[in-house]
């Protein structure tokens, strides 16, 4: 299991390649890639700054991954989350889950994202025109996370 918080971009193909290398038991890989949009709440967004709590972020992500591994039979999990300044079309987050069959992979991937969205200490600040504002949480994220409990 790997958890990484970084400013640099990531190469999805290379990451998945490394994760599955030399493991003939893996029959399914599910991945999710979060991307910066240029629109939020009706305003055009030109830039996003991601702040986090170094130390706690990694611990929180590892806890979420452990929780997923206790619920489903998984061979490996990778979570990469970027921080710092990002622009529309940039990749923000990557979750990859490797398992024997697709059911576990799909479910665990969705679970990981739902929990990450409500439990990992990241905060987005967006720039629209000359103004910046902290992104507000969405009730739908809480609802999505609750369905797993």
């Amino acid at each position: 299991m790997t958890v990484r918080v970084q400013t640099e971009d990531f190469d999805v193909g290379a990451e998945i390649g490394r994760l599955r290398a030399d493991n003939p038991k893996i029959g399914a890989l599910a991945s999710f890639i979060g991307v910066v949009r240029d629109l939020n709440q009706g305003d055009s967004v030109s830039e996003l700054t991601l702040e986090h709590y170094p130390g706690m972020t990694e611990k929180a992500l590892e806890k979420i991954v452990s929780e997923a591994r206790s619920r489903w039979e998984l061979y490996d999990v990778l979570v990469i989350h970027r921080v710092g300044r990002l622009r529309p079309t940039d990749q923000i987050v990557l979750v990859v889950v490797a398992s024997a069959h697709r059911g576990e992979a799909f479910q665990a991937c969705e679970f990981l994202m739902d929990y990450l969205k409500t439990r990992a200490p990241f905060w987005k600040k967006e720039r629209a025109g000359d103004a910046t504002r902290w992104v507000e949480t969405r009730d739908t994220d809480d609802t999505a996370a609750r369905r797993w409990s």
């Binding site: 986090h52 611990k59 987005k124 949480t137």
Partner: protein, 93 residues
């Protein structure tokens, strides 16, 4: 309080994102007032500073609190040397 005074129950408090900006403070070391035993007590003490502290940490405002990098409830105890983080709801992903 003199440096190295072992009787002083010092905790470190950290503030993140919107809270950090609204309070104008990213972290502080606090000698715990005698009445502060839990996370909830600490929030109450900080509110009593008034101004932005009272507004931002007002009861009922959505707020996450971590003790030593683990999410904690209001009843969680605070001990000397702990790091307590006050955070707005998270918006990653």
């Amino acid at each position: 309080m003199k440096p190295g005074d072992s009787a002083a129950a010092i905790v470190r408090i950290r503030y993140f994102a919107r809270l950090r900006e609204a309070l104008g403070c990213s972290e502080e070391d606090l000698a715990m007032p005698a009445a502060v035993h839990t996370v909830g007590d600490l929030a109450q003490f900080l509110r009593s500073r008034g101004g932005a502290w009272a507004v931002e940490l007002a009861a009922g405002k959505p707020l996450l609190i971590a003790v030593n990098e683990d999410m904690a409830a209001a009843e969680a105890p605070i001990r000397k040397g702990d790091t307590i983080a006050f955070m707005p709801p998270v918006t990653g992903g």
